[in-house]
Symmetry: C2
Subunit: 261 residues, 2 copies
């Protein structure tokens, strides 16, 4: 913004902070990952942009329909992004295949039921069905959480190529609660157990008062492409039906994707 | 691409065709509205970009996660867009509020059940539940169709500010089938009828062999914010239960949004 009096022609590929226009535009969208509505200055702050640049680029988002400006002056994600998002083929197919099995699992357990996929070193929740009095959790549809701290994440990590575990270890996995596995030894032992037993069981790994049971979903080629889990009140952790329910649901989804034992 | 030997510094705000970088990036995303996977040259063609520009901007989308390049070399929408899309608050709330009523309507009718909102001069389908042997239709979740040619669109048009009808008429509404209303007189008569009767009934307005019944969804302030419809086989058009079912479902969704009669 301060060009010492010389006329500055910004490059198409980059601005004064070294980011391209595209990177700045995407940083604006990323500001909405955790927030539903933002002021222009909140967007500028989150995207680390001068207010004038944010103003210009936000206007481009609004023009396209990816953001909308409400009568209250706040910006929200727009229907255009929703329309593009629902056409993303991977989440779309997995959700459609999983829906009846998730519903059956919910009916059988009356807790939280999740469907999730791996996204780099994280797990993204594609769907969540919840009973009214289920334990409070932070995972919601679209949430991305670390692989090592969630049941679905551990299942996906157990079946990922070896480089993924290296990546998790190199990232300095955070210990959220006493039940969170963070060392290489703990993780290797647990991942081997998951591969051998077929389900992951964790108690208070990320959420106090909760335990999780998770199992892998395979596609027609046998690759693990997703995971199904239950998050339930920790007091119910010795009830035997959760393992079976999660296994059955994960196998049902796998069969719907063309997998055969 | 051909700069006659002179070094050309493109402007941040615009390229050689007058579009900004943002407009070109968004044109790339728009290429995926009707298609699930595209080659680079298909993207370039749809976005009207030179191949080299498309290559560079698509790489920025991939870097961010909005597009992914498969092992087959084809590009698809990425999980990042799906994650943003599911956080769009309007579709999210309406879908959540409507879901049980749409399911009840589906169970009662065994046809297609839709939830839709107005988006400019179009209607966007937020949800669709379909019985296995329902009539083939082109509307799917995320589809955008013209207001004048759909039952939900007519309901939303009947309750929109007057400028919207002017916009539809000025856009030259297309006659898809004999049942499509296109003239100002036809539309004004029908919209008045919809406001008076409370539902819209159309036969073969957009889809051969189908009829639709649609009703408005209101929020706590009484504004019409969405519409619910059934699309059913035209042979069933004299069965009396569809009107009642759609009215009940639309009122149920409205109540879930805080509306009171």
């Amino acid at each position: 913004m301060s060009n010492s009096g010389t006329y500055h022609v910004p490059m198409a590929g980059g601005g004064s902070d070294g980011r391209t226009v595209a990177e700045k535009l995407f940083a604006i969208a990323d500001a909405f990952q955790g927030r539903e509505e933002l002021t222009l200055s909140e967007i500028a702050g989150s995207a680390r942009l001068p207010l004038s640049t944010a103003h210009r680029l936000v206007a481009e988002w609004v023009e396209w329909g990816g953001l909308v400006r409400g009568e209250d002056g706040l910006y929200r994600l727009g229907l255009k992004l929703w329309r593009l998002g629902v056409r993303e083929p991977k989440a779309r197919r997995l959700r459609a295949a999983a829906q009846p099995y998730l519903e059956d699992l919910l009916d059988s357990t009356r807790e939280h039921v999740h469907l999730a996929v791996r996204d780099g070193l994280g797990v993204v929740y594609l769907d969540r069905l919840s009973a009214p009095d289920a334990v409070p959790v932070i995972s919601d549809v679209g949430t991305r959480l670390p692989l090592h701290a969630t049941g679905v994440g551990l299942v996906l990590l157990a079946h990922a190529e070896p480089g993924v575990l290296e990546g998790v270890l190199a990232s300095g996995p955070k210990k959220y609660l006493p039940g969170t596995l963070t060392t290489e030894h703990e993780l290797r032992v647990r991942l081997a157990e998951i591969r051998s037993v077929g389900v992951s069981r964790s108690v208070e790994a990320l959420t106090r008062g909760a335990f999780s049971v998770a199992a892998p979903v395979r596609d027609a080629s046998g690759d693990v492409v997703a995971a199904v889990s239950i998050i339930a009140h920790a007091v119910r952790r010795d009830e035997p039906q959760f393992d079976l329910g999660v296994r059955m649901a994960a196998r049902g989804v796998s069969r719907a994707l063309g997998w055969r034992p």
